[in-house]
Amino acid sequence: MIVFVIRRILTMVLTALCLTFIVFYLTNLPANLEKLAKSEASARMSDEDVTKWIERNGYATPVLQRYGEWLGIVPGWTRTEEGVTTGRCIPRGSDPALAPSHCGILQGDWGFSTVFKQPVSSIIADRLSATGWLMFWVMAVMVPTALVIGVLSGMREGSRLDRGLSIFSIASTATPEYVSGVVLIALFASATTGISPWLAEHGWISGKTLFPGTATSAMENITFWNFALPVATIALYGTGYIARMTRASMTEVMTAQYIRTARLKGVSFPNVVLKHALRNALIAPFTVIMLQFPWLLNGVVIVETLFNYKGFGWTLVQAAGNNDIELLLACSVVAVFVVLVTQLISDIGYVFLNPRIRVS
């Protein structure tokens, strides 16, 4: 087991290194650096000035060397021009002699965001906590709903309840976040269509719409009203998938010998489902739920953009749109970390939940 975990962690580190290098390489393509120079200094720079700017800010060295600097295994660049020493690790206006030689993520220095003009680490921490709340509520809504739907439809395969719930889950997997978000806003958060005008006419709601169309206010204070639509939007897409997996696993368990034995010895149907079948039926969905986290990340980006909720996904879009290299790298490190850790947990958890599986 320990060998397995260590090997997995080593693969994870290797994967993370490869992925961050790809991101680093793509964001540091000459065309992207030129864009960065123009947005940082002046939009009407001549090509010569751009080259000079790139040299002066340490972007002219080979990509691998700069990647090493970012990681913190290669000393940061320094440059002495007209007696003034500047460098990667030297904050403006401080004494170059006191600056450390290395400053990369291994030293805990994530760099400086060129869009938000703040240290990357503080931005990421803020935004992640905002997204954490969103993720938490999505999970709290999605997982119980999906499991209940899956168990209900899987306990009597082919029944009318099963058919109805199955069609619901297929429909929900066919509704990506940008579709359900748009439809939900049109239904509940529009002053001209949906149910809001009708409710307002009867005087049942005080404002113009039932739900607000943005979740910006949820940054400070999460309420049911400003968070319901974003959470429902993300949860809807994942619910169907988890429910279908639960259903498949439940139908398989319900045909097992020990269930028939339990039925034959006279255990009531609800008891069979709850005490005998449920526990075994939930092993497969566990893996699926863990592997949903990377998917949620996608949904989070779409929903945060649609509802203007300034979390991790919104930051990723801003960083990518403005070629903010260090912020984007930090975002991808976080995203890759989430994906790989959930994979690891799902593998290890599977072994614990299902003693028949052994890792070699």
Binding site: V23, A186, L316, A335
Partner: protein, 393 residues
């Protein structure tokens, strides 16, 4: 000046506009149901109500894309003054008897016609990109599962590497004008588009190596025609890769479409690879594989002509699901305004354009959103019907 239409009249007129589609659907279903016992798995689809509904939805959009020129009431790119954010059913100013059936968008274009025009883009790109992803996945997944060992370890690591990448981050990095300029999409296209050629050549060679003359002819045909299509797809004037003279370059793919296509294939291929690899690991232990190994068949013959046909059930189902997923990915790209031009009537871009005024005028965004959902729903139902019917065998 005519009055605005009521909802009943709007739906009546939309129904009339779609008449070519209805006729085509009725003919297709009548013929298919009449001959369903002779049509194999496709015919069995008509035994399952869910599969039939799904197939009808999918074919509705395919026929809509095909007859788009007849269905559209307005030009999808023309802006008519005074029709900005027009409500559904408004008469077009300055022309008699023409209506914006589903209203106008924020640039005063007809929402209905744009939705119809958008279907052409989706119906063209999504299945083609999925097919390419399958070719790549099959060509790499078969040997990885069959041989195992170092090859499998390396390819699996690469597949997991791509899968660990958040899709949106990858799109944001790849689908930018800067990357399109750098020629990276063409390099990626060069590699990815090579796989269908390799696949076909190996397919023919492994089967017909006992009849060298026929084989040589077929392979020469594939290399010439396939190679021409390959070069024509990639070569684009004024870019890094332009080996074909303009007279021979009969397919013109603008670099922004190429990058969309390539990145969608790139994202899908590793998943297909994993599915194929899993299926091969399962099937290669069967007796008929052992039998052909004893017969002395070559490894590629066994992979392509023994294992692959026996894996077709799950693969067909996954192909349907994956077209739906590709449609969603294309929509995601449009939603973030990546790749396709903002003018483009594809559904993702129109949703993106419509969401800015969503609270006041929802119709420009809701119409393409529902269109996209119904197509993906159709594909999912179709896959479900196929799965049920193929399990009955």
């Amino acid at each position: 000046m005519a009055d605005a239409l009521s909802w009943g009249q709007i739906f009546g007129r939309i129904f009339v506009q779609f008449i070519p589609v209805w006729i085509a659907l009725v003919v297709l279903f009548a013929v298919s149901i009449a001959f369903k016992r002779r049509l194999g798995l496709y015919g069995k689809l008509f035994d399952s109500p869910i599969g039939m509904i799904g197939f009808a939805l999918v074919m509705f959009w395919v026929f809509t894309a095909f007859f788009a020129q007849m269905i559209m009431t307005q030009d999808p790119l023309t802006q008519v003054s005074g029709m900005k954010n027009a409500l559904p059913g408004m008469p077009v100013k300055g022309s008699d008897g023409a209506f914006y059936l589903l209203g106008g968008d924020n640039l005063a274009r007809d929402v209905f016609s744009r939705m119809v025009a958008g279907s052409t883009i989706v119906v063209q790109i999504a299945p083609l990109a999925t097919a390419f992803a399958f070719m790549v996945g099959v060509t790499l997944g078969l040997p990885a599962g069959y041989y195992g060992g170092k090859l499998d370890t390396t390819l699996s690591f690469l597949a997991n590497l791509i899968l660990a990448f958040p899709v949106i981050l990858l799109f944001y990095l790849l689908v930018t004008p800067e990357i399109a300029q750098s020629g990276l999409p063409q390099y990626m296209g060069m590699v990815l588009f090579l796989f269908p050629l390799i696949f076909l050549i190996v397919l023919v060679n492994s089967r017909l190596y006992v009849k060298p003359q026929l084989r040589n002819m077929l392979i020469a045909g594939i290399v010439v025609i396939g190679g021409w299509i390959y070069l024509a797809l990639l070569s684009e004037p004024d870019t890094i890769f332009n080996p074909l003279p303009a007279a021979l370059d009969f397919i013109s793919v603008p670099s922004n479409i190429l990058i969309v296509f390539v990145s969608v294939v790139f994202v899908n291929a590793p998943t297909v690879f994993r599915i194929i690899r899993g299926l091969v690991l399962d099937i290669k232990t069967r007796d008929y594989v052992a039998a052909s190994q004893t017969r002395g068949e070559g490894p590629w013959y066994i992979m392509l002509w023994e294992i692959l046909p026996n894996a077709r059930g799950p693969l067909i189902v996954d192909f349907c699901l994956r077209i739906g997923y590709t449609t969603i990915l294309l929509g995601t790209l449009g939603f973030f305004g990546l790749g396709l031009s903002p003018e483009s009537p594809d559904w993702g871009s129109t949703i993106n354009a419509g969401r800015k005024l969503l609270a006041a005028f929802p119709h420009p965004a809701v119409v393409p959103a529902l269109a996209l959902m119904s197509l993906v729903l159709g594909l999912n139902l179709l896959a479900d019907g196929l799965r049920e019917e193929s399990l009955k065998d």
